[in-house]
């Protein structure tokens, strides 16, 4: 029986506080399972999960796959590049095919915003959004939240700075929704071309130095400057000057603060090589690998709560 209040997880903003609490509290026990020698429980034996990926992904797909396997569910990867689904070829037809095979849950990633919401309306079985276009990536936000909980033991009043291309980031949207819901103070650090036309209602800075000393969580977004649809941001050099996390900035961060990133990092663009490879107490600030580990636990918790 689904123990969450909704059939599916489509976006972070509509998760109820009790659902979030339930997911986070269950993640602890699944984290423990992942640390055992035999990392498998029979909880979801006989259930079938489809990883339906219309956009290439290694990390998220693998994370869901490991999560499902540790719960003994059968998980099947169905990849289809979005570009092969041209106009005329219906996603609905693909879904009908999958539904005919009696699966219990679909994990979906798609390159176009809103597609998972559309699919969720169409199918009766639960759907988990593994990232759609620029819209949402709710399981990422939940694992980010879990990482913060493990580090700080609380949410209320924590200061988060999300740095980078806010406009094009589904991670930033989902994180902002959840972080604010949990009582954190969110600041967006981005240049104008990565912000909506009117950002007067948002808490915005343009230079990372304005937030670096005071922030508890520095959440750095993946930047692919060379892959902008239309190139409006001038250069990596310009980015390094105002937005990149380098050693000098890392040293300025306050004690107990952390650096997070949804991965994979573009070394030299949003974070320097030096910072990525730093050890010692400064190295302890970097929580990127923890995020990946917690990601599996969070996805196990979600699968369990929906299908268990």
């Amino acid at each position: 029986m689904n123990m969450l209040s909704k059939k599916s997880i489509v976006d972070a903003g509509s998760l109820e506080p009790e659902d979030i609490e339930l997911i986070l509290s269950n993640a602890d026990s699944f984290l423990e399972i992942s640390r055992r020698d035999v990392k498998k429980v029979p909880t979801l034996r006989g259930k079938t999960v489809i990883n339906l990926f219309f956009e290439p992904s290694t990390r998220t797909r693998t994370s869901f796959e490991i999560a499902a396997k540790r719960l003994s569910a059968d998980i099947i990867n169905f990849s289809s590049s979005s570009s092969s689904l041209k106009k005329g070829e219906s996603i609905i037809d693909t879904l009908k095919t999958i539904l005919s095979m009696n699966v219990d849950l679909i994990v979906i990633r798609h390159s176009d915003s809103g597609t998972v919401k559309m699919i969720d309306r169409f199918v009766d079985i639960p759907v988990i959004n593994a990232g759609d276009g620029k819209y949402q990536h709710p399981t990422q936000a939940l694992l980010d939240l879990y990482t913060i909980q493990k580090r700080f033991g609380k949410f209320e009043g924590l200061k988060v700075a999300i740095v980078g291309d806010f406009l094009d980031s589904r991670v930033a949207r989902s994180d902002m929704d959840l972080f604010e819901k949990m009582g954190m103070e969110v600041t967006i650090v981005a240049p104008t071309m990565f912000l909506p036309e009117d950002y007067s209602e948002m808490n915005v800075r343009h230079n990372i130095d304005e937030v670096i000393k005071d922030t508890d969580i520095l959440y750095i977004l993946r930047m692919q400057l060379e892959r902008q649809d239309r190139k409006f941001y001038p250069s990596v050099m310009e980015y390094n000057r105002f937005l990149t996390l380098d050693m000098k900035r890392l040293e300025e961060m306050k004690p107990g603060s952390v650096v997070m990133h949804p991965g994979p990092v573009n070394r030299g663009t949003e974070i320097t090589d030096e910072v990525m490879d730093v050890g010692g107490t400064l190295g302890e600030k970097i929580a990127i690998e923890e995020q990946v580990t917690y990601g599996v636990a969070i996805r196990m918790a979600i699968l369990y709560l929906i299908l268990g």
């Binding site: 176009d112 915003s113 809103g114 597609t115 276009g133 909506p196 036309e197 239309r230």
Partner: protein, 432 residues
Amino acid sequence: MAKNEKKNILIKSGTIIDPAKGNEFVSDIYIKDGIIAGIKENIKTGEDDAVKIDAEGLIVSPGFVDMHVHLRDPGSEDEETIETGALAAVKGGVTTVACMPNTNPAIDSDALVKYILEKSQDAACSILPVAAMTRDLKGKDITGMGILSETGAAGFSDDGKCVADSRVMYEIMRYSTQFGLPLILHEEDCFLSEGGLMHEGHYSSMLGLEGISSLSENVMIARDIMLARKSGARIHITHLSTRGGVEMIKKAKGEGLNITCDVTPHHLFFNDSYLTSFNTNLKVKPPIRSEEDRKALLSGVKEGVIDAIASDHAPHLDTEKNTTFKLASFGTIGLETLFAAAYTKLCLEEKMSISQLVNSITILPAKILGIDAGKIEVGKTANITVIDTDAEEEIKRESFISKSKNSAFIGQKLKGKIIYTISKGKLAYMSK
């Protein structure tokens, strides 16, 4: 209509709205051999060959003039044809349609204007071809506007696109003054709108959908007002969507420029918050804008800054809409909901008078197109629409007779139902 079709029609005791005279009165109308033979109380025909329409308590309006329609013919007859588009029109009470030239091939030559005119002979309503301003709508070479107007073009437009080259636009405007036909302008700076899927604002940011800034429309309206001021061209801004546009046109009219504009019912009805459903039928161009813009458009109609209401009927196949929001085509059909959508918002919610609404879909667009329509006069061919303003209907996909079903209004409850449409002198539509 069946073979035993009666030629003559008697409309009994309807409330007639005559925008030409600006009055409203209860009377009978007798139509003999397609021509309005009499408008007076208690007409007794004494014959049995007249179809009698009991219009007591109903509104009797001149047939509507929809000056912005895509009939998709030639080229995309799987979406709509002249024949099916005209049937959809009369179901919506529309008896005159101006069809846009972005067909395949585009209506940019004498032969294509003739094609539309000939194919329209037997259509359920009158169809006026609008010809392209530039060859193949490419924004470069100006079409033979002189010959096209002689052949019967009702106006010129590159609708669906905007002439980006200001020099070309300026020369089109100057040349158009020789012929006196209106230029129907789709205002969009394609560089500002490139890649955009919905109105740029709070909701586009929230939904992760690429935005189309209001600037895209406003920049071009500003440019074209300047070019029109200098050239003296008669310009008509179609499907106006922004508050800034309403303000600029109001000012330009105050200055005495020869400028008119229209708005669609969907821009009056919806705001961008409706896009949170990712309903692809709401993906239109220009995009459904903010509530602030919608309010400005409503006031624009009420104050008379906005002259006409036009549907921008844009048929698309299911395969073009049953896809992701990004891949879906732009456009909603609108002929069949033109009156009800506008009436529900403007008259019921905004308390505008029904006669003002009727003006904006009859005499005013007729005046812009320079045609003799939108009137009820003895001696003229009957084009008359009978409306039940009390009838409410939930719009369903199945109810459309247009070949395409992509209506933004599906699921909405609208008031104001077309009961009969008399078009080209014949009873062309009767509700079930």
